[in-house]
Structures are given as structure tokens and as C-alpha cells.
Symmetry: C2
Subunit: 256 residues, 2 copies
């Protein structure tokens, strides 16, 4: 993992833990070369706004990004992205997004033009398929969010969010024993779970009282991960991690 970041400092986390092994070194180099310019953000800033025409896409290198939609004075979070995510690759085909991309906390991103992606589409169908795959991962996560919003109440919803982010950070080597560190605040969690910040606070208190998870200003400590996952009915298959759905055998070209 450290090797990947040495070799590919800007895109070394892309699809790590998922289908990165299906990429040849040449393809990894191609992806790395796609990202020309980088930018760093402090505190909440809008990377890309809903409806704005756009001809480049963004690789998240460090930090967190939220997908948000505003409606009637309020903001709703419809997705969260972690390092290694090609956060608006779908803008290549959509041209204008239906949602906003906003950073929270410090973040570092890289940009690539759609012209360069277009070249990849023409020259390397295998890599094109992997790029497509990465956008479909987001869709799979969206579906799980829908399901969990339908199924769970606030305490389990936020517990599920914790489990998902932890697993995704694990994929890219950013996990930590006993929990995770995020730039999230309770208001963000509320907007992800479709509740008010006040109710989210009570939900978090409940998780704390029951010894499931302790959220304190972005730092999430979990005494017993398995227990939290069971509580949240978290099943990671929808994240298409290596081996989970037999993905590795399907698209893999080379073994590490």
C-alpha cells in the first residue's frame, strides 16, 4: 500500500481494496498521468456545483467530500467520499451534476480533463470498464443508503454510516484500530441520516450509553467493531471489496 502511494502519489488509492489489482502497472501509470493539476482546500468549500457545465473530473487525494443537494433552504447529504475516490468521474458522461460536491475539513484533490478520459475510452477499453466500475460503486452505495433509510431509525442509521466509512477507509489503508477520525460534525451526520441535528445528538448519546460507538468532534471510537456492525445490520458486500463477491477472479488480469 505504501508502495502504491510512492509510485502513484496522486492516484495510488484509486480502487485500492476493490479492483486495483485488476489494473496493470501501465494502466496505473495511465491513471496517474491523467491527474495533472492538484488543489488543496481548507474548511468547507464547493468543488463543483449542481447544474454547472464542467469539462474536468476530480480525484480525491486526501480528506473527505460530501455530495449534497439543497432543497428549500436546507442541505441534504446524499453521499460521502473518502481518499482514492474519483468523486465526479460521472461528470464525464453527465456533463452537469445533479448535486454539489463540497469539502469538509482539509482536503486535497487532483483534476483531470474530460479530453484525457475520452482518450482512455478510445484507447483502453479495459481501463474504461474499470472507470465505469468505479462510478457504479457509488450507485451501489446509494442503493444501500436508500435501503437503510427505509429500514433503520436514527441510531442504527448513523451506526451504519460509521461502519461503512470505516470499511471504506480500511480499503485505502486509512483505518485505525478502535475507530476512525473524520472531519464530520453532528450536523453532517444528521443531514446524511435524514434527521435533525438535535435528534442526531440523542441518537449518538444512545450509542455512547450502550457502548457501541463514541462520537466526539469527528473522532469515532468503537469498543467492539463486530458488535457495532451487528447492531447496524452492516453487510459490506455492497462495497464490492476484494473477494467478497468473487470480483477478483472475474476481472483480474494479473495477480499481485
Amino acid at each position: 500500500m505504501a508502495d502504491e502511494l510512492d509510485l502513484y502519489p496522486k492516484t495510488g488509492r484509486f480502487l485500492e481494496g476493490r479492483l486495483r489489482d485488476a489494473m496493470s502497472e501501465e494502466e496505473k501509470a495511465t491513471v496517474e498521468s491523467l491527474v495533472e493539476e492538484t488543489a488543496e482546500f481548507e474548511s468547507p468549500e464547493v468543488i463543483l456545483e449542481r447544474g454547472v457545465l464542467c469539462n474536468r473530473s476530480t480525484m480525491l487525494i486526501e480528506g473527505f467530500v460530501l455530495r449534497t443537494i439543497n432543497s428549500g433552504e436546507k442541505r441534504y447529504v446524499v453521499g460521502v467520499q473518502v481518499p482514492g475516490d474519483f468523486v465526479d468521474l460521472h461528470a464525464f458522461a453527465l456533463k452537469r451534476l445533479d448535486h454539489n460536491l463540497v469539502t469538509i475539513g482539509k482536503a486535497k484533490v487532483g483534476f483531470t480533463t474530460h479530453d484525457r478520459i475520452k482518450d482512455v475510452m478510445s484507447d483502453n477499453p479495459h481501463l474504461a470498464r474499470l472507470l465505469w466500475f468505479s462510478t457504479l460503486l457509488d450507485a451501489a452505495i446509494h442503493r444501500e443508503w436508500i435501503m437503510k433509510l427505509e429500514q433503520l431509525r436514527a441510531p442504527k442509521r448513523v451506526a451504519h454510516v460509521f461502519c461503512e466509512i470505516w470499511q471504506r477507509l480500511d480499503f485505502v489503508g486509512l483505518g485505525r484500530d478502535g475507530g476512525i477520525d473524520t472531519p464530520l460534525i453532528q450536523q453532517d451526520l444528521a443531514e446524511m441520516c435524514g434527521t435533525t441535528a438535535i435528534h442526531m445528538n440523542r441518537a449518538l448519546s444512545q450509542l455512547r450509553e450502550e457502548g457501541l460507538a463514541d462520537f466526539r468532534r469527528g473522532r469515532i471510537d468503537v469498543p467492539d467493531r463486530k458488535r457495532l456492525e451487528k447492531y447496524a445490520t452492516f453487510d459490506s458486500t455492497y462495497l464490492y471489496g476484494e473477494g467478497v463477491l468473487g470480483m477478483r477472479g472475474e476481472l483480474s488480469l494479473s495477480t499481485p
Copy 2:
């Protein structure tokens, strides 16, 4: 529209109202040729089950299909598809789906092998991009569902579902004045909106009392469409209809 179905009986509705105009006649013919075998279903049947390895994709020709996820004895609906939708095109890149595809009512579908799609990926980058686009439409719809689950209560949720399905049926020429006809039952609507069937029934009663929409065994009558859309805070831009986000000018190759 009728012309499209005469020329392309199995895929004439694909991307109709969205980017179908961006396809050349040759590309439309290519898509039509992708679908070799067709099948018809009566009443609820599973087209594709979560986790099952699969090497073909499904075009919905007639009828409705639900995307469902089962968890703890219950079923949750995370998406609905209408004629013209390439319902599991994403299985081409994912290989196994994270959800089930089930028909409701009568449905007719066409199948295409992933080998054939692979050829398109290599031979026609422009068409590949349109196929990609169509899977991203689903993701955009997922995001709107998340947002509406977070934002709205049961009566407005189901009103929003009505508005969306109506708009999507309009795209493919299946709208009707004063409402729509679907094979949906109240239980399905409940599973889409994350409520119980009993509560959905009360929500529907409320819409009926307020003269917003009258749901009766799949038939939905709406006295005033604009009023319903306003009530549900329905904004169709996320469906990427022609012209709405200036799509037509962006990817279009020919004008009709």
C-alpha cells in the same frame, strides 16, 4: 416515437426523451442488434438475484421492474424501472449485483450478452459513453430518492414517486392525460417510501382527500399535475430530460 418503435421494436425507447437524439441511426441499429433473445413474465418473478454471477444484461421492453434488497425478512425497494430502461446494464461492469431485479405485473424483456457489450466498448467509444450515461441516470435517481427520503414524510414521498414515474413514462411516450397506469400495489409503494403498508394507505387517503392524487389498484389519477408536483417538491432536472440541463447541445451528434 411510433417510428422509433417500428424501426427498433426492442430498444426503440432506450434513452428516449434523454439522449436518444445523440445516437446515430447506425448506433440505434447496433443497440437493437444487441438484444437477441426476449422473454415475457407474468406476475412477480425474479429476473436477476443479488450476488449471482451473470454474463448478460436486460433491456426492459414492456412493463415495470423493481430493484429490491432483502434484509431481515423484509423487502426494500430501492428503485423502479420503466420501459426503455437497460435495467441491469451495470452488471456488465459489476458482474454480480448488490440487489434483486423483480418484475411486477406483466413484463417483457430482452437479453444481451456481455461479450456483445464488450465489443461495443472497443469499437464505438461514443456509444460506450451513452451506455455509461444510462447507468449514471440510475445513480442520479438514487440520489434524489435519498434526498427525498431525508426531506419528506410519507404523503409527499409517495407523491414524489408518482411525479417521477409519470415523467419517466412521458419520456418514453407512455404517459396518459390525467395520470398513469402501473402494476404497483400499496405494499410496493410502502417499500419504496420506507413506511408500512398501513401507513402508506393513510398517506394515500390523505392525497385523495386533498384532491392531489387518487391511487386505486395501480391506476393513479391526478386532477392537477402542477399542483401535485409542487406539493411533492418535484424538480425533474435530475432525470436529465432533453434540454433540461442543456444536455442536448453537449453530446448531440445530429438534430432530428
